[in-house]
Chain length 245, copies 6
Amino acid sequence: MTKILFINPVGTSDFDKPMKEYLEKYKRPDTNIDVISFPKGPRHLEYYSYDALVLPDILKTVKDAERKGYDAVIIGCFYDPGLHEAREISNIIVTAPCESSLYIASLLGDRFSIIVGRKKWIPLMRRNVTNYGLKDRLVSFKSIELGVYDLHKNENETKRRLINVAKEAVGEGAEVLILGCTVFFGFFKDLQEIVGVPVIDPVLAALKQAEWLVEVKKLVGWTHSKVLSYEPPPEKELREWGLML
Amino acid sequence: MTKILFINPVGTSDFDKPMKEYLEKYKRPDTNIDVISFPKGPRHLEYYSYDALVLPDILKTVKDAERKGYDAVIIGCFYDPGLHEAREISNIIVTAPCESSLYIASLLGDRFSIIVGRKKWIPLMRRNVTNYGLKDRLVSFKSIELGVYDLHKNENETKRRLINVAKEAVGEGAEVLILGCTVFFGFFKDLQEIVGVPVIDPVLAALKQAEWLVEVKKLVGWTHSKVLSYEPPPEKELREWGLML
Amino acid sequence: MTKILFINPVGTSDFDKPMKEYLEKYKRPDTNIDVISFPKGPRHLEYYSYDALVLPDILKTVKDAERKGYDAVIIGCFYDPGLHEAREISNIIVTAPCESSLYIASLLGDRFSIIVGRKKWIPLMRRNVTNYGLKDRLVSFKSIELGVYDLHKNENETKRRLINVAKEAVGEGAEVLILGCTVFFGFFKDLQEIVGVPVIDPVLAALKQAEWLVEVKKLVGWTHSKVLSYEPPPEKELREWGLML
Amino acid sequence: MTKILFINPVGTSDFDKPMKEYLEKYKRPDTNIDVISFPKGPRHLEYYSYDALVLPDILKTVKDAERKGYDAVIIGCFYDPGLHEAREISNIIVTAPCESSLYIASLLGDRFSIIVGRKKWIPLMRRNVTNYGLKDRLVSFKSIELGVYDLHKNENETKRRLINVAKEAVGEGAEVLILGCTVFFGFFKDLQEIVGVPVIDPVLAALKQAEWLVEVKKLVGWTHSKVLSYEPPPEKELREWGLML
Amino acid sequence: MTKILFINPVGTSDFDKPMKEYLEKYKRPDTNIDVISFPKGPRHLEYYSYDALVLPDILKTVKDAERKGYDAVIIGCFYDPGLHEAREISNIIVTAPCESSLYIASLLGDRFSIIVGRKKWIPLMRRNVTNYGLKDRLVSFKSIELGVYDLHKNENETKRRLINVAKEAVGEGAEVLILGCTVFFGFFKDLQEIVGVPVIDPVLAALKQAEWLVEVKKLVGWTHSKVLSYEPPPEKELREWGLML
Amino acid sequence: MTKILFINPVGTSDFDKPMKEYLEKYKRPDTNIDVISFPKGPRHLEYYSYDALVLPDILKTVKDAERKGYDAVIIGCFYDPGLHEAREISNIIVTAPCESSLYIASLLGDRFSIIVGRKKWIPLMRRNVTNYGLKDRLVSFKSIELGVYDLHKNENETKRRLINVAKEAVGEGAEVLILGCTVFFGFFKDLQEIVGVPVIDPVLAALKQAEWLVEVKKLVGWTHSKVLSYEPPPEKELREWGLML
């Protein structure tokens, strides 16, 4: 059995239950998924500084998940906050929506576009695409100009806007589309039928990649490298500075 | 059950049995693997023109595998010959060693080096790394100066050379190593223990990715996009020009 | 005298005569041009897999042309199929339309756009532009949405669409235009007069470059390097695998 | 008068006094400098996850400094932790050592090298160089293989190693050198005399840039843009989530 | 006191007085500014060849300024003619509008657009942006299609066009705008108020950077590197070839 | 007949006769070559500022050559001084050694190295390689540490050093070598025989390209674009400012 912890890195548990139900529809039979959020902190992460606020909680949760025997952790925000840091301090698999989405999109077509809620999100995401090494495969960012908390308010309007920008992106040369926010969950299926290209739901991309990397680790023996980028700090310091018990 | 066909795209069946045995050690329980090679043609693919010679056979085999109900095909050469073309003409999953290795390596560490048999191989492989969009994550190519048919002649010597260049690459900043030839199969395990970083065996990377993409296709519904790059030719033409029965 | 063979790499001789007549208008006086096509195979190369199908025939034809004393071969498709492979196996000059066009365009202006028949062609051509190292000089691809066999059906309509996209491209900053298909032959002259920038006809670019490289080879002694990329396979293997008599 | 707060973003005040004395030697006459550190937290930031731990404290300190009337804040770690986030939440000037050093180095010569303590630091710093847009001006990273707390243990040994790698870097084409850690303070002067090229001390680069941006803001009216990247969150949320009083 | 010479590198003194008055509004109290132009030569530099014509005069003026005790010279054309050459032959600070503007813009926001008078100017400016290493931070060039001598003819019309393209650029993702001609002086203030993002006036950017680099040189001891790019020619040759008395 | 003017852009006629004799060995039978230098000015162009000094003379000479009926002008310095400016002001073909060498090298192999006399030359040449769009095909610069006037002092020593760095470059992956100075004339032949890869002599590259572009202009009608980069200034201004009679 594969134990996966999905972190909703926000100070509200509102999304925990729907997210768990959603992930369970797409998981492997032998995967066990838990979803967790934080007791306090920002209730959304649209601003870059909010990411900063939740980073310590993300890392402590990852370290705790390792202790509790989880095989993998998913950091549930498309900015991928703390992805590299979490791999540095732990020995379990860590995935995140943006990285996962970019890689599977690259396997499914030549170039992709990323659909975001608000233009504000784009500069940080563009930086991430560059850092993952895939900026030459990015066609464009398309914004539907809706904040995180508006995406599910009027789902028909959200859908209508998604279809519009999706068609634009395909016209510009996108062969695959990526939904650039975990809160877009639920929209990909209809959209991909209407537009006729694969539409990546980032939480599913992160889930499927997490399951896969756990399997690969067990069967083949490959896991995150521990030299340079992910060279771990001494446990003594982690304990002293509150990152582990 | 997932049915996968591994194509040894050469005119000799010498590698078929050992390759099948090797893959079966790492496959999922419910995966069924067949290995096939061609009745005639080059017995190795070190020269770029040899790739050209086997391309029609690769494509016909892919199209035939689709007809026979395979879920995925693996093109077993690190030059990834015909990868894009095979995705264009078929509706099944197609993977290849170089692409698979680059993507999993990118998930396991920041930058990687590729170990090749001969320097001759490098220019075409560098072009592929660029085309897959990942050249900024490549540290270096390292050559052990042994041809394909020499890799298993004196395995101790091969191993000795691999260890040398692997250590050099890690010293240059590689966090992950990739073995740049399918015929390197069997060497990754010891090497990764000695050098202390993940060492990607490209046939296993291609196998695990193929299994995964088949699963994702079944569970989530994502598969190779069919617009632009992989827009398929008319069946009528495929038949007329001998690519399908 | 310079002997040049122009390969129409398709399974129809329909274009041979008009192509020969066209090339003869622009050749040097001491150039002798032959045009050849294949007895069977795809009648157009719009799909990437069709390129794969004709590659062995292209290479055999190149090798045969070398034996027959040709100084140069032109591979007559804007995807430049087999260009590197042909240089690997032979000692004669080999040119192709895309490479030739990009280089002469770069000498005539700062940046260029490429006009194609269908959007489908773009991803492979963009990859080639990148591989030739010139993507920073590319402004855009412009598509007139006509297939190869439609280009000469209604030449006025073709011309009308060419003028439209040409003007758009110049407005975007293109100082030179390239016609991205060999079947565009005949259109460049009027177009360049109307739009006021050089319009590169790719078959003429390939012809003039072939003549030039033959001259340079004879007078100066430079020809395709034979290390690494174009290091030739052993003749014994070429013979055994049917690439030469 | 210009009021600047230098944040030593670590949980020790050991460096506060020497840093203040050092900065005061190079400040403008009308600049007032305070140096602050945190009551708890990591005592060094060599690991990427330690950056994550101190980010909330950095941001709160920046926001508090704004309230207290500081004109500028310097984030005193060469990883530049929280630089973008601090600009997002505040209206004062924020500078950081890596960004400041890269820009002044670019004005003083064509290309530069960065000298680090340990190789571990390089991947994150390389990513920052790329994100600041200046990777084409980077010659190399050179490591002297000494941790932060070893730099001042045996200053002669540190100096000896610095001279060695500095000369190597100049031999590779570096016209300017950058010391890639704030704890290198004090070494630049001798080194630049010995090696004969400008050697950038990153805390001084950050100090001088902070003073300059404050002056430019006052005299010309330019300051960090408040659209997109640095678009600020609503004050209500900042208060609710503890980023401001 | 800091002595700065601003070179209007044109054969007319028409702009000298207004430029001096303009600069004096923004200079530091202890800065002394002189403005100089040439007795003959092109009266504007819109064409690349005009730059070539004035280069010798620029260099002689720089060398003369050094002799006369100026601390810094500003080359007053957004093509930055002779910037590198002037640094090569002299030991004083040299700045120029394009370089100065790009660097301060990069500190104020993530990406910027450059507004030009005529499209003709763009290719050379794009090359400069690339050479300064910052092309990844450039969103777009926007042209208002007015020549240098038209910018102040009808200032309302100029302003109207500036506002239009400025808004377009911000819509495309520009967080900072740069006015790409020294003759745009005077327009930045209103524009930045209307559009809501920093608008860089290039002569002020060059002035403030010059003052700053002089201060840094005096206080910290950093100045243009004298190896490789700016390695100076022998004085004997400079004298013989008329670059110095 | 094709009339070509080769400009030795220096204030000495010492190289005129040997250069003319050299070029005549490699020209087409119907080409007429003249070589010209300047009555005064720098006697070599190793420093970037010397380029600036000779630019007006280069441009006047080009404009005069046009008036006298030359079909093409070659600017004989590997820094390619004034190449773009000369194309802007004239309607004849202009070529230069660096641009010519890079393009033919790209046709002869995958990647190339450039051999220079002194390291000082490299930064400007690297910038040119980038500007011509070909930096991804550059392996390395190799310096033999000899000034222009030393290259022919002890030709055996020059040759010995050339062989050393040439072999190094090939070992690094160069498939073609370029001699990065016009004064290297005469060395390419032996070197290419010894090292076994094409060695480009830049004056011959520029000569053959000039002849070719003249032919192409006459036979096909393509010449330097006259929009944007090479949009010509008004003749009235050229006359007034002394660029034409």
